[in-house]
């Protein structure tokens, strides 16, 4: 699709996933008000810890042109947030989307995600939705390192050198504290946001930091709800191709472990 | 400093002159104010109150508060300013407001304990007397956390003024 070389899909023995986010969007039909308890019943076996999720914002009201406008904070009930027993998987549902966020600590492969969403077809039937307008998966890989004097060297170990060709062009590259690259594609009905590089968060000890490889692939084509898993599987496979293309051979050996 | 003391005494005398009768009992919707200090009593975002603002000292089950229906924000401020200690991270910030029914809902009690210098003084009781160096049991940690969560924070925007300069406390 984007021209990244295909590789046979497989599950590595190790991963450095921090978070996996799956999201499906649909048109608003205001189901949440009436169907909240039914939705909770549907998913509570897998996600027994549930709560309302709140949207937070503020509102400026102009009562009349001669008066000072009033600024006030607002909190609206924006949906439901449900967590697994171990708190590592979070399902968030509102009137326009359903998102599943899985911590990298428990994510093994795509089958786990499909398992968690095994009741999604019942969800769509319950709320009367038969069309989806977006399917997206985002996988954030983070490699933490400590006590490294040359962070750039660590970056070169994980990311394929062709992606980091500018590193050698900067003088005193051992002094580089942040090196993040951002690439966005838009082709057909797909959008890809690829971010990779190095960050040293504020407040960290010298020599500690993270290498990031963040792949976010979105399909914006309106389709029937029955196509969700087909699309999600395709997206997941594409992300796998992009991941393999981006990482170095050394890193692949490490993942094969 | 001397001027502040004079203002405090003037306020106290005028309060006494009015001879306001303060009942021993509390109504559920009565307003109760607790002095709040920064940064020691405030969360990092300065928008909420930490549980330590509602923990009694060692050897006592008493959290000093004022009955706001029978005093003024300015009077509460005068008292708070006396208690501040900037050298030790304790700068007067404002007041925390609870309603009596919220104190009861947190499974705590409130008793009227007037002082000569503060006729509106009362004490919230959590039902446990802390001992020096010993942690409160979990049940009482929850009570103090509930009180802190329920309390509304009112910031005084001019700490140098003798009068309360935050929003009217409602």
């Amino acid at each position: 699709m984007f021209g990244f070389p295909s590789e046979p899909y497989k599950t590595y023995n190790r991963n450095f996933l921090k978070t996996v986010i799956f999201q499906v969007s649909f048109n608003n039909n205001n189901f949440l008000k009436n169907k909240k308890s039914d939705i909770i019943d549907l998913f509570k076996e897998t996600f027994p810890r549930y709560n309302d999720s709140l949207a937070q914002g503020f509102e400026i009201k102009f009562k009349n042109p001669n008066e000072t406008p009033v600024l006030q904070s607002i909190q609206n009930n924006a949906g439901i947030e449900m967590r697994s027993n171990d708190g590592q998987r979070v399902l968030t549902i509102n009137d326009v989307s359903l998102s599943l966020t899985i911590s990298g600590k428990v994510y093994k492969n795509f089958d786990l995600l499909k398992q968690d969403l095994s009741r999604i077809d019942k969800f769509f039937t319950l709320v009367g939705i038969n069309k989806i307008i977006k399917v997206a998966i985002r996988k954030v890989n983070i490699i933490e390192f400590q006590n490294i004097s040359d962070a750039t060297g660590v970056l070169s170990y994980a990311i394929t050198p062709e992606l980091l060709s500018n590193l050698t062009y900067f003088p005193k590259s051992e002094g580089i504290k942040q090196n993040i690259h951002s690439v966005s594609y838009a082709l057909d009905n797909y959008k890809l946001n690829l971010k990779y590089g190095l960050i040293l968060p504020q407040g960290n000890n010298i020599g500690n930091g993270q290498i990031i490889l963040d792949i976010d692939l979105i399909n914006n084509e309106e389709s029937n709800t029955s196509t969700i898993f087909e699309k999600a599987t395709f997206i997941n496979n594409q992300i796998f191709n992009i991941f393999n293309w981006a990482i170095s051979k050394n890193f692949k050996d490490l993942l094969n472990g | 400093m001397l001027q502040k003391l004079i203002n405090f005494l003037i306020l106290l005398v005028s309060f006494k002159k009015k001879k306001v009768l303060i009942p021993d009992s509390f109504s559920n919707d009565e307003k109760i104010a607790r002095s709040i200090f920064s940064p020691i009593n405030l969360t990092k975002d300065l928008k909420s109150i930490k549980a330590n603002a509602f923990k009694p000292p060692s050897g006592l089950d008493e959290i000093s508060v004022n009955r706001l229906n029978y005093t003024t924000e300015t009077f509460c401020k005068q008292i708070s300013v006396q208690l501040q200690n900037p050298e030790y991270k304790k700068n007067y910030f404002g007041l925390g407001l609870l309603y009596v029914n919220e104190i009861y809902e947190s499974d705590c009690d409130i008793v009227y304990t007037p002082l000569k210098t503060n006729p509106s003084h009362s004490d919230i009781k959590i039902g446990y007397i802390p001992q020096k160096g010993e942690p409160l049991p979990g049940e009482f940690l929850k009570k103090t956390k509930n009180l802190a969560n329920k309390a509304r924070l009112f910031q005084d925007f001019n700490l140098d003024s003798d009068k309360w300069e935050g929003e009217p406390i409602k």
């Binding site: 937070q56 967590r83 708190g87 | 969360t43 030790y88 160096g133």
Partner: protein, 221 residues
Amino acid sequence: MDKELLLESKEDYIKAADYSKKSEKTCTESSRLFICKNPNIWVASLAAGAITLMPAEKTVARNFEFLDSNDETNVIERLMIYSDNISSVSDYVIELTDTILKTNNDKNTLVKEILSFKSLNNNWDGYGSYPLEVESASNALMLLDKFSEEIISKIIEVYPNPHGTVSMEWENSSKETLVLEIGNTSMSYFVEILGKETIYQNNKPFNATEINKLSDLISII
């Protein structure tokens, strides 16, 4: 709003609108901000600036809409659009830190904070309080040493108590909470998890079993 200013700036806003439509993010939807009636440019700038300065996770305005039902010729649509996609690198780093890494603090910061409580004097709260006890401080530092970095990074508050102990708190976006109080010889805590009864643990010793139990509970928050 001044008509000339509107026309002058309209093209920029159209460009901004196109740019924002090109990109989307898959994280949780952010809230909308609607502003009604005639604003003046100063207030509009203030509001727009305030939105821009807010942390990415907390409030992201999708658009501003200024509507004046009385005068259609003065309607301003989409004065400013704040892209949902975090386009700049610094915004991305903020988003990553706030939402994915959730790095509230590191160990050194917490150690310094706990040590700073030792400087509190007697009656530091004006109500007869004690300064932080040496043993309590030592136990708190020992716990920080035993906790994983992830647990440490999720601590939302550390504070001294009037009776000489120190407390730590953890809380997630669902308001599930663990509050721990560390004393001279033992610790107590409670945990509130949705759908379950509150767990109370009182006067637990600082041994490996109890610390592991505590760590496991914190991990699910």
